[in-house]
């Protein structure tokens, strides 16, 4: 008797959870869908009521505007460039360093590892970094400021190193017997085997590069990326939903609609790599757990 009552109460819990989850899915996705709908909706119609999931008066004028008038092409290219270059270089450098640090017979292994790990816990902070990049190195408004300072994430190096340490050492030994030097062993044997973990690292760095905003804000306002353009629009255009204003500005574009269109452009690439992120990040996180 008592057992069955407990059981039925337990089953109710499943249904309660189902309802809660539906609610969570809605509050997670609804804002995104709302943004998408506004970006494809007529700007003047949007001013009447911004709450929608499906565009009421479909138009592509917002997108036409941002690419034609607002000249989003250059920032977009810059964002793509820093993402591709940053992730590509980052992966190669991370893999190279990780291989060296995985070699226990390397004389400087311990010293170098220590030097790198320490920086995970202490950093000079905003002002010294700013002064180094802007004053000492003069990297202000230089594209290199997007690539060089964040070239290597120590966390990723540790991730890749643990992966390499898990590979059978016999492969390296065999290659060495055949007369291969360390560089060739790295390029011909280690790199191909590390593909899964390097894919994880590459995706993480790429997402970080695509999403980066502070470096543009601090160091390179003249090289605006997509994220920075979105920020600028957010700062300059105060959105007041005023129906009278809507009538005055016939044919004009509304800052909100433009902003929503750019928001979508800045989000879509994330959605494209999202399935891969899903697949790899769990793997990546487990790899990290193996060692430490």
């Amino acid at each position: 008797m008592k057992g069955s009552r407990v059981k039925s109460r337990d089953d109710i819990l499943d249904w309660i959870l189902l309802v809660v989850f539906v609610f969570l899915i809605i509050i997670t996705l609804y804002p995104f869908l709302n943004v998408l709908a506004i970006s494809f909706n007529d700007p003047i119609d949007t001013m009447r009521n911004i709450n929608m999931v499906i565009p009421r008066q479909f138009t592509t004028s917002n997108y036409v505007y941002i690419f034609k008038e607002n000249n989003l092409i250059a920032p977009l290219l810059l964002s793509v460039l820093r993402t591709v270059l940053g992730a590509g270089l980052g992966v190669i450098c991370t893999a190279m360093l990780a291989y060296v640090l995985s070699r226990k017979d390397f004389y400087f292994n311990k010293v170098f590892t220590l030097l790198f790990v320490v920086t995970m816990y202490v950093s000079g902070g905003l002002i010294p970094e700013y002064l180094l990049l802007m004053r000492t190195l003069g990297l202000g408004n230089n594209f290199l400021v997007y690539i060089i300072p964040g070239l290597i994430w120590v966390y990723n190096v540790i991730l890749v190193r643990s992966f390499i340490e898990g590979l059978p050492i016999a492969l390296q030994e065999a290659a060495r017997v055949d007369g291969a030097n360390d560089f060739i062993i790295w390029g011909r044997i280690i790199l191909p085997l590390c593909k899964p973990v390097l894919a994880t690292v590459g995706l993480f760095v790429a997402v970080g590069q695509w999403n980066a905003f502070m470096d543009t804000y601090l160091y390179a306002k003249e090289l605006p990326t997509l994220q920075y353009v979105l920020y600028q629009i957010m700062e300059t255009a105060t959105i007041k939903v005023d129906p009278h204003a809507a009538e005055q500005m016939k044919n004009a574009v509304s800052p909100l609609s433009v902003r929503m269109a750019i928001t979508i452009v800045a989000t879509v690439p994330i959605l494209l790599v999202y399935p891969f992120l899903q697949k790899y990040f769990v793997g990546g996180m487990t790899v990290g757990a193996v060692k430490d």
Binding site: D10, P31, M96, V100, S123, P128, I148
Partner: protein, 311 residues
Amino acid sequence: MIAKKKEKTTKQKFSWQLVYKQRYLLLMSVPFVVWLIVFKYVPLWGWTMAFQDVRPKTFALSVWEREFVGLGNFTKAFTDRLFKQTMLNTIGTSMLGILLGTVMAIVFALMLNEIRFVKFKKATQTISYLPHFVSWVVIASIAKMVLNDGGMLDTLLNTKLKLMSTNSPLFWVVVCMINVWKEMGWDAIVYLSAMAGIDQGLYEAAKVDGAGRLKRIWHITLPGIKPTVIVLLIMSVGSTLNVAMERQMLLSNGIVQDHAMVLSWFSYLRGIGNNNYGVGTAIGMFQSLVGIVLLLIVNKIAGIFGESKLI
């Protein structure tokens, strides 16, 4: 594992022959060490500026030529008219964030762990990660569309919530709620994996004893993830003062800025905005040092607590 057994690290003696033998390894690592020293250690050396009067004009001077001011920069920062409110904001936002973030992530992980509709569970989890990968600029853009006066939420509820236009600690709550919305799914992963590590036999035994699901959660799951929760809490307390300037700045606006200002932003404002590099560095250094001290204290407390509780 095999590699570890084989190595037998016989301590190598330094010799130029060894250096030559490992020349490729050196070539493959020294450039990165140089990079590390330039971009990570040189800024650390920059902490010397916290004790000196450094302005744009005197920055080019060497460390020994600049005027030494002792703790002057720190006193200047602590007596700044913005300092008290900034400190309150930093601690308020941070504590609330840790509390809300941890509780919500645990609750979400518990729910995911409990629900028996497998496909639905996977779908929810996948969707919950999405905002984590989206940039703060995009999140801010969406948040302002939703929460601003006359925004989506106001329209939906047909009220004026004034969430983004009330200059009060309400803004801390708003920021933390947005953060929870963004990170809850992602943060739940670590708790979920901790739950997966709990001995299933305990649940079976409890079932036999007639414990319902809620009782099993309370007496088995929660105690099971306690060590994970404590470790994560210790780490987050250590970064209490490190509230990121990016999020605060992006979500803020002219009206609520008084309650959005946090230490890192304040350091930038005084250091770069007002061209007082010394004071800016001092604020940053204060932030780091307090973090380390807090970490040590909390770790100690947790140690005492853990011992007395375990035995």
